[in-house]
């Protein structure tokens, strides 16, 4: 069987589409970060993100964020179909700017936490989690 001009074009389009998918995910992460920080620079330090190095089950991965002096913490799973995980907004009676929860991870990826400090600056922490069984889709 020989490829006609039409087949070749179709193949090329399919390849281009497949290659575009990962870029779309990164774009989502960037837009979520931009929506939270409104373009401000993000520093390091002052925020702790505790996540397991290896999670056997991506359906329930325990994480903990702690950023003393933060007003809000955004958590992103950079490799998920929808990267946003949640935003923790701390009120006047919050005892410490920490929270822990359980999240879903689609596969091995970086978990990103960005804290907005009371003075308007932002800091981030990143931790890679290796996932044996994915938690999204089925």
């Amino acid at each position: 069987m020989s490829f006609t001009r039409r087949d070749t074009l179709r193949l090329a389009m399919g390849t281009a589409f497949a290659a575009a998918i990962p870029f779309k995910v990164f774009a989502d992460v960037d837009s979520d970060v931009a929506a939270f920080t409104e373009g401000a620079e993000i520093g390091e330090g002052g925020i702790t993100l505790i996540a397991p190095e290896i999670a056997e089950n991506g359906n329930t991965v325990p994480i903990e964020v702690d950023a003393p002096g933060a007003v809000a913490i955004l958590v992103l799973a950079t490799g998920n179909p929808t990267p946003a995980v949640g935003t923790f907004n701390f009120g006047p009676l919050a005892g410490a700017q920490m929270a822990s929860t359980r999240i879903r991870l689609a596969g091995t990826q970086d978990v990103l936490a960005i804290a907005k400090m009371a003075d308007g600056t932002f800091v981030q922490a990143r931790q890679e989690v290796k996932v044996t069984i994915g938690g999204c889709g089925g």
Binding site: G86, F88, N89, G95, T101, R104, C136
Partner: protein, 109 residues
């Protein structure tokens, strides 16, 4: 409508004034992510709890925006300052408009 949604909350019964306490909450909910497909290949529509708040005597402790990446039966642990005796109010907001609430009393000794 999610079925059998039951909040479970752990708050100490007593504290001293100004003490920081740890609160643990868990609510049974399927948190359907909107990513899964059923046996026929149809996407199961998203149905999650999208917001959780905790207030103490009308003052906010924590307000969490939740996305589909939060696990089934969302669990949250956080810390609160107890300035006086009163009640913690917990509120969960479901995608379908339902609101689940619970309160826990705490006494300052």
């Amino acid at each position: 409508m999610a079925e059998n949604v039951t909040p479970r909350i752990r708050v100490p019964r007593e504290a001293s004034a100004g003490e920081t306490i740890t609160i643990k909450t868990l609510i049974s909910h399927p948190m359907e992510s909107g990513q899964r497909k059923d046996g026929d290949g149809n996407v199961i529509p998203r149905s999650i709890i999208n917001r959780f708040t905790c207030d103490f005597n009308g003052q906010n402790v924590i307000d969490v925006t939740m996305e589909p990446a939060i696990s089934t039966n969302p669990f949250l642990e956080f810390q609160a300052i107890v300035p006086e005796s009163g009640a913690f109010e917990f509120t969960w907001y479901d995608d379908d408009g339902d609101i689940y609430t619970d309160t826990k009393e705490i006494a300052v000794s």
